[in-house]
């Protein structure tokens, strides 16, 4: 089984896999420092001007800010709703539980384009509301609640429900039990849920495409820029910044998650 040939093949496979996965992403920072409007080889020279162009591009910064606001609102609302749902699913039994779970999960499997058209019809024809970042936020909550619920259910199932009973037994009501016992124990889950919902919302295109009004989110704005080649390098610069931030956030959330696991299973002294 463990012949040298096989392990060499495995290593080759793994290396190729990583190159295919990450090389395209790494082209982004590479071209963002290249002194050429067109992102192609050979590279011409090092420059920071695309980063300066990015900082002067007010509509691009506005779109970034819009996406950030939507993302934060979506992650907050979805995590709170997901927590309620996860608590109901893990701590209580009630008629129709299976059906309700399926209904909450449904938006994950319905194609976004169908969901987008349906929501657009609902918002414009039924409720006659104006399209805005609020409608985008609402649609993103729809697809993020199931994600938040899944993350938090795993966390809630992971701890002894006697802990909550013990808190009641020691004289605390539901509200104080939540803040003194449940919240600290599921905090790593809440952070994961928040980050997952944020990233899902941040790069969501189809729903935002149908439901954003005059104010575009970042993916919509970038899509619009593809018609103007001179603007592309600024986008590459912004992409590189976002990539950097994503790596930091993932590293942080992974560190936080491990810390959570440690404090439950017992290895910090």
């Amino acid at each position: 089984m463990h012949s040298p040939t096989i392990s060499r093949l495995l290593v080759t496979f793994a290396v190729c896999y990583l190159i295919f996965l990450y090389a395209p992403v790494l082209l982004l920072p590479l071209f963002s420092f290249n002194d050429n409007v067109y992102p192609n080889f050979p590279l011409k020279g090092f420059t920071l001007k695309w980063y300066q162009q990015m900082l002067r591009d007010q509509p691009l910064l506005d779109a970034l800010w819009a996406s950030a606001r939507v993302g934060i609102a979506v992650s907050f609302v979805s995590t709170v709703l997901g927590l309620f749902a996860a608590k109901a699913m893990t701590r209580y039994s009630f008629p129709g539980k299976g059906t309700i779970t399926s209904l909450i999960m449904l938006p994950l499997v319905v194609p976004s384009i169908i969901l987008g058209i349906a929501l657009l019809t609902l918002v414009r024809q039924v409720f006659d509301l104006d399209l805005s970042l609020i409608t985008v936020t609402a649609s993103h909550v729809l697809i993020c609640v199931p994600l938040a619920m899944l993350v938090l259910m795993a966390r809630l199932e992971g701890f002894d429900k006697n802990l909550e009973e013990a808190s009641f037994d020691l004289g605390e009501g539901a509200w104080r039990t939540f803040w003194r016992v449940t919240f600290p124990l599921i905090l790593p889950g809440l952070v994961s849920s928040f980050l997952l919902c944020f990233t899902t919302s941040f790069d969501e295109f189809l729903l935002a495409f149908f439901l954003s009004g005059t104010q575009p989110t970042l993916p919509i704005y970038i899509y619009g820029l593809l018609r103007f080649p001179t603007k592309i390098p600024g986008v590459l610069a912004m992409g590189s910044c976002i990539l950097m931030i994503s790596i930091l956030v993932v590293a942080f959330s992974e560190w936080f998650r491990r810390r959570g696991i440690d404090s439950q299973q017992g290895s910090i002294v």
């Binding site: 002894d160 006697n162 802990l163 013990a166 808190s167 009641f168 037994d169 004289g171 404090s263 017992g266």
Partner: protein
């Protein structure tokens, strides 16, 4: 046991708990006195934990009412009951250290810091964990967690402490130490303890009184000695310790002694205990503990005797069980002998022996 209205702490009145069609607890009524160490004993699924959880308020009775210190409890939430619980899993808060765990239930009292600290120090002293205050739950052994759970409940000064198989997860030696320690702490604090266990030895060692439960019903409530010596039915007799039971039919009752036709075991005599109406011809059993039996080569003049052949010996260190096979009996008879002077006067395997016991050592069981 004095059980007047004045010192009754818990009163369980016709309590039933149904989960769908299953009656986990079925029309149970009894009282527990103030300061009593009371055990609920029974096999798993007998309803003892459900009954305990109803005392704590985590389950609501389907029918009936529970009174604690004279107050009806059905409308009282767990956080407002004068009870505290030691959970089977201990339920030590993993994100808090030992001191914060112990002080958890005192937070709402808003005590001055110094006073709170003094209470926690006293509690740590009581459970012999002084100096462990800053440890987290995952740095404690099973026995230490168990004690923290106990201290956390006791500092709330409950009227009743509920313990759900608290020693189940500990190894044998530690369990025996904790049994003694728990009993001592209970005497010190004088709080009523309701202790759930499936371990009959544990219940016998620790309790003032024991309720033996089976299939949601209470079979017998008595002191350890009374349960062992005078079980009121076959289930209790066979659940607690080892019991030889000979089934038969009642022949006559005269002078407090019943004569029973026990088929292959011959005619046996047993004292009549209690005032139950006994009709000749009804199905009864005669039960006798192994240590009340003696083996001899010749038939003794008085008492009950059954002829048989000595089979295997089960050596238990301090004592041995000898199994005697008698013609026509479904199970061999178990007889126990102390091993104080080992080897003296015990029949060899394969020898014909008489198993005999004085009439007053037996128990007559009617169901």
């Amino acid at each position: 046991m004095a059980n007047g209205a004045a010192n009754t702490m818990i009163s369980i009145r016709a309590v039933t708990k149904a989960f769908g069609p299953v009656r986990a607890v079925n029309a149970v009524s009894f009282d527990i006195a103030q300061g009593e160490f009371f055990s609920l004993l029974g096999p798993s699924g007998c309803g003892k934990t459900t009954l305990l959880r109803m005392l704590a308020g985590f389950e609501t009775p389907t029918e009936g009412e529970i009174f604690i210190d004279g107050q009806p409890m059905s409308a009282v939430a767990p956080n407002h009951r004068p009870t505290n619980m030691v959970f089977q899993s201990y339920a030590i808060f993993p994100h808090l250290n030992v001191r914060d765990n112990i002080a958890y239930g005192l937070a709402r009292k808003k005590l001055p810091k110094a006073e709170l600290g003094a209470i926690v120090d006293r509690a740590l002293d009581l459970i012999k964990l002084t100096g462990y205050g800053n440890r987290m739950a995952n740095q404690l052994s099973g026995g230490q967690r168990q004690r923290v759970a106990l201290a956390r409940a006791l500092v709330c000064q409950p009227k009743v402490l509920l313990l759900d198989e608290p020693l189940g997860a500990l190894d044998k030696k530690l369990r025996e130490e904790m049994q003694l320690e728990l009993r001592q702490i209970q005497r010190e604090v004088g709080i009523t303890f309701v202790f759930v266990t499936h371990d009959q030895e544990e219940a016998l060692t620790m309790s003032d009184r024991i309720a033996v439960m089976s299939k949601g019903e209470v079979l017998q409530i008595d002191s350890a000695a009374a349960l062992y010596e005078h079980p009121n039915c076959r289930e209790v007799a066979e659940f607690i310790g080892t019991m030889n039971v000979f089934e038969g039919r009642l022949l006559t009752v005269s002078g407090g002694v019943a004569a029973v036709d026990a088929g292959p075991a011959g005619q046996l005599l047993a004292p009549v205990n209690g005032s139950a109406a006994l009709t000749p011809g009804s199905a009864v059993s005669v039960a006798v503990r192994p240590e009340k039996l003696e083996l001899s080569a010749a038939r003794p003049g008085t008492g009950n005797a059954i002829a048989g052949r000595r089979q295997a010996e089960a050596y238990l260190g301090d004592r041995s069980h000898y199994y005697v096979e008698a013609q026509g009996l479904p199970k061999p008879i178990a007889a126990a002998a102390q091993n104080t002077r080992r080897g003296s006067g015990v029949a060899q395997a394969g020898e014909a022996v008489w198993v005999h016991w004085p009439v007053e050592a037996g128990v007559l069981l009617t169901h």
